[in-house]
Every structure is written in C-alpha cells, then in structure tokens.
C-alpha cells in the first residue's frame, strides 16, 4: 500500500521534472491549499455528526437518524441549507469587519494546520519552531472572535467576545506550560523531533506523573481555548443567545461553526503529537510480535485514531460537566491550573536534568 509520504514524493518529483522549480512550488501550494480545504469540509461534516451522535448516546437519545443510513447525511443536508440561506448584515454593524471576521476565524484554523504531522514524514511545513507556531497562531483566533463581537453592534455579541478574550488569554498560559514540559523533555520545538523522540515510547508512558498532570492540564486548557462546554462562556446559549455569532446567519455562521470544529481537531492533533506520539505506533519492549503487528497499521491511521480519541474525550467533557460561571472559570485558571502547571514544569525540568524518565 503506498504511504502518504510516497504519494507526496512522487508528486514532488514529477512536478520538478515537468516544470521549472518556481512553477513546481506554485503548483504544490495550490495542491496543498486544495487538500486543506477538502480536509476542512470533511472535518466539519464528520465532527459535527460525531458530536451529535456522541451527545445523543450520552443522554440516552437517538441522535440524527432520518437523513440517509443512520442519519449519515444529516450534516450534508445542514450544510446545503446553510449555503442557500441569506447572509444578513445588520444595519448598525461595521460592515467590513462584520464580513471579515468569519474568514479570519477560518484562516487561522487553517494556518495552524501547517506544522501538523499527519503521517510518517508527511507534513506541510516542518518549521523549527513548530509548537511555538501552534501556540502563537492559535491565540490569534481570539481576534476573529473579538472582531465579530465588536462589529455586530449587539450587547450579547460584545459580552461574549469580551469573555472569550479573557478566557483565551488566561488559558493560553497553562496550555503553554503543558506544551513546554514536553519541549523540555525533548529539547526541541520542531514537531518532527518531538515525534521522533517518542519512537521508544510515548511521552505519556515515558514521563511518569508530571507528564500525566501536564496532559490533563493541556486537555482542560484547550477545551477552554476552543470555547467549548464546560467553558462555553463565549457562546453561552442560556445567557447570551449565541455570544459572538448571534448576528451571523447563513454561510458566515457556518464558517464560525466550521472553524470551531477544525480548532478542536487541531488542538487534539497537537495533543496527540506531543503526548501520544503522533504517528508512532504503540510499542511494548523491543522486537516483540506485538510491535510487528502494530507497525503493520499505517502511520496516518495511528495519527487519526489518536486525534479522534482525544476529540471523543473532549466531547465527553462537554456532555458530562456542568458549565462554569466566568468568575469560577478565571479562578480555576489563576488559582489552580497555573500554580499546578508551574510547579509541574519545575518537576519536569528536574526529571529531565536527572534523567529520571525512560
């Protein structure tokens, strides 16, 4: 079976043999862009379907089950509906920013995908500051939300956007500390180095308790960063109707919705990469029969499997936990997560210096 790495190489060689290097690079840009947009659409359809089914199972409901076999085409039908709906712009809104905001939210979700390693040696951009790039760009997503909230000229949108700003800025810290603990253990910010350092065991197994704590903190922080329940104060259906996207309709609303789900995919992919070994298969010991069977599974499937496991966990959070108030949210970050993650970072540093990890 040809691996994704193999296909990418064949295309690269063919383009460079056929065209000049400039045109070859340009065509590669176009191909990558098309693939990312395709992945976007697929993720939107699959993740929204998954969310609705998982929530239904956890609440002992059935979920969508009318459109297509077991409701498979429900999200396709929803997307078609949103595409043909009129995209309204309120009279009092700042027209330019109002129409720009959904695209900013989506473009940021796209850009964050650049350093992700989807399979063995299959990556858009192996940048040497991979995780820093992720941390930096994902916190820019708050600009799209603030822009939408401010330009809507609506008190609910404004409140939701301000809350979202406070939330993302706070939780960025503990997410950063959690990522930093793995960076300390690996000694590199490059995603491919982080993945390769886990060839003899994922960090969640090699790193003892401090890495588990970092993993849990990372999960909590990214749940807050993606504005999902139990931290969905930016949307807060019960208080702010829909928060920052109250005034949006049609395809512009769909872009926000899509960006939310793609953000979930991206943060879970990063979590899978730095804690669960990225595309590395599950190995116990060396040279055993079990390891050979695990190696037989393609690396892209390992990556997707781990990512979807984390997405399921985050959905599990959403449909189990009670929502927090804004003061409780900030208490949790500044009084609990931040001190714990700072102390934890010290522990990880000590562990890395003394070589206590496997």
């Amino acid at each position: 079976m040809p691996s994704l790495e193999h296909i990418a190489n064949v295309i690269h060689v063919w383009l460079n043999n056929t065209f000049s290097p400039f045109w070859a690079t340009l065509f590669e840009f176009v191909i990558v862009g098309t693939c990312i947009i395709g992945l976007f659409a697929m993720l939107g359809l699959v993740l929204i379907m998954m969310e609705r089914k998982v929530s239904a199972w956890m609440q002992l409901r059935l979920g969508p089950n009318r459109v297509g076999p077991v409701g498979m085409f429900q999200t396709v039908a929803d997307t078609l509906k949103l595409m043909v709906k009129e995209g309204m712009t309120p009279d009092g809104a700042d027209k330019f920013l109002f129409n720009l905001a959904p695209f900013i939210a989506m473009i940021i979700a796209m850009v964050v995908m650049a350093p992700l390693m989807f399979a063995k040696n299959f990556q858009i951009w192996d940048i040497n500051i991979g995780v820093l790039f992720f941390a930096a760009i994902s916190s820019v997503s708050v600009i799209g939300i603030l822009m939408a909230g401010w330009a809507s000229n609506n008190k609910y949108s404004m409140l939701g956007a301000m809350r979202s700003g406070a939330q993302i800025v706070s939780y960025e810290l503990s997410a950063g500390f959690a990522i930093l603990s793995i960076v300390i253990l690996t000694g590199s910010l490059r995603i491919s180095d982080i993945v390769n350092s886990q060839a003899d065991g994922w960090w969640i197994f090699k790193g003892h308790i401090p890495v588990w704590i970092a993993f849990v903190i990372f999960l909590i922080a990214v749940t807050a960063e993606t504005n999902r329940a139990p931290f969905d104060l930016a949307e807060a259906e019960s208080e702010l109707t829909a928060g920052f996207h109250t005034e949006y309709s049609g395809m512009k609303f769909a872009l926000f919705f899509l960006a939310e789900y793609v953000n979930i995919f991206v943060v879970c992919a990063v979590g899978a990469t730095i804690f669960l070994g990225g595309w590395q298969p599950l190995h116990f010991g060396t040279g055993t029969k079990f390891n050979e069977i695990m190696d037989y599974i393609p690396s892209s499937l390992w990556f997707i499997g781990k990512t979807f496991f984390l997405i399921f966990v985050i959905m599990w959070f959403r449909w189990t936990f009670p929502r927090l108030r804004i003061d409780q949210l900030l208490n949790l970050e500044w009084k609990y997560l931040l001190p714990i993650s700072m102390f934890n970072l010290l522990l990880v540093t000590l562990m890395a210096i003394m070589g206590w990890h496997f």
Binding site: A56, L62, T320
Partner: protein
C-alpha cells in the same frame, strides 16, 4: 492547614468529575439498550403509555350505558380554569319526587391543564383520566366535548 485543604479540593473536584464521566461513558457504551427516546409516529402500534398518564377527562360508562355522575358539580367547583360546565335537570322518581340529575357534562379540552383535581374531587368516581393524547383538530369547536353518552342515565344505587 491551607495547603492540605487546597490539595484536598483539587482531588475532590477531579474525583467528582470522573464519577460523572464514568456514568456518561457507561451510557455511551450501553446506549442501544438504555435509550429512552420513543420514535413516536413509527411505533404507534406498539406504544405503551404509563397507566397514570393524563390525556383527557372521560366519563366511565358501563355496558348498560349507565354512568355514576350525580350532577353534584364538585368537579366544576374544583376546576381551576372553568374547564367543566355541568347542566342538570330534574328527574321524577317512581315515588313522584323530583330528583336532581345530570343532563349534560360539558368539557372544554382546550382549557384543560390535566391537573387531575376534578377526578380527585368526584365523590362517586364517575370520571377518570384517559390515555389518549392525539388531540389535534382543525377546528377549535371540536375541542368542546360532551362527556355523557346520549341516552345514558345514572346507575342504580348511586347517591
């Protein structure tokens, strides 16, 4: 001490959240057996409603077309939103005495909140709550119902 309280809080919080996750996780794994959604129009034939489900007020008639309503208007007085209107008449008994009896039991289904107070108030258990619930009609006047069957009369021995 402050620090032990802090650590206890963290562990207590994590433990209670994990308890919740365990339950929802169990539900997600057993959703096929445990599901509570009724696929209503599809399962119309096999739909089983609980015995105490309150759909509408009906009057109990036996096989001789006799009911137990004495026309005492206790239900009309008990009704909080004037759903019931009882019209009485005077029967002449064989002894030649005049006796108050039910003429028409008018029931406005559109006003009824299924509060069950009329059934509780009835001294002779003449009315009950039925399980029927498909009450939608095209005309509002169809919701005004006469509960006593035409030609029905009170059962012997009910005072």
């Amino acid at each position: 001490m402050f620090i032990t309280k802090y650590i206890k809080e963290v562990f207590g919080g994590v433990k209670s959240l994990l308890t919740g996750m365990k339950l929802t996780g169990w539900y997600a794994l057993h959703h096929k057996k445990e599901k509570i959604t009724q696929q209503y129009p599809d399962n119309k034939d096999t739909l089983v409603l609980p015995e105490r489900f309150r759909g509408e007020v009906v009057m109990i008639h036996d096989e001789h077309n006799e009911h137990a309503c004495t026309g005492c208007t206790a239900c009309e007085l008990a009704c909080p939103n004037a759903t019931i209107k009882i019209i009485t008449k005077f029967d002449i008994t064989p002894e030649g005495k005049k006796k108050k009896a039910l003429d028409t039991f008018v029931y406005h289904l559109d006003l009824c909140t299924m509060c069950n107070l009329c059934i509780v108030a009835c001294p002779t258990d003449a009315i009950k709550m039925a399980n029927t619930f498909e009450h939608s009609v095209y005309d509002r006047s169809k919701l005004l119902k006469i509960l006593n069957n035409p030609g029905s009369k009170i059962r012997e021995g009910i005072e």
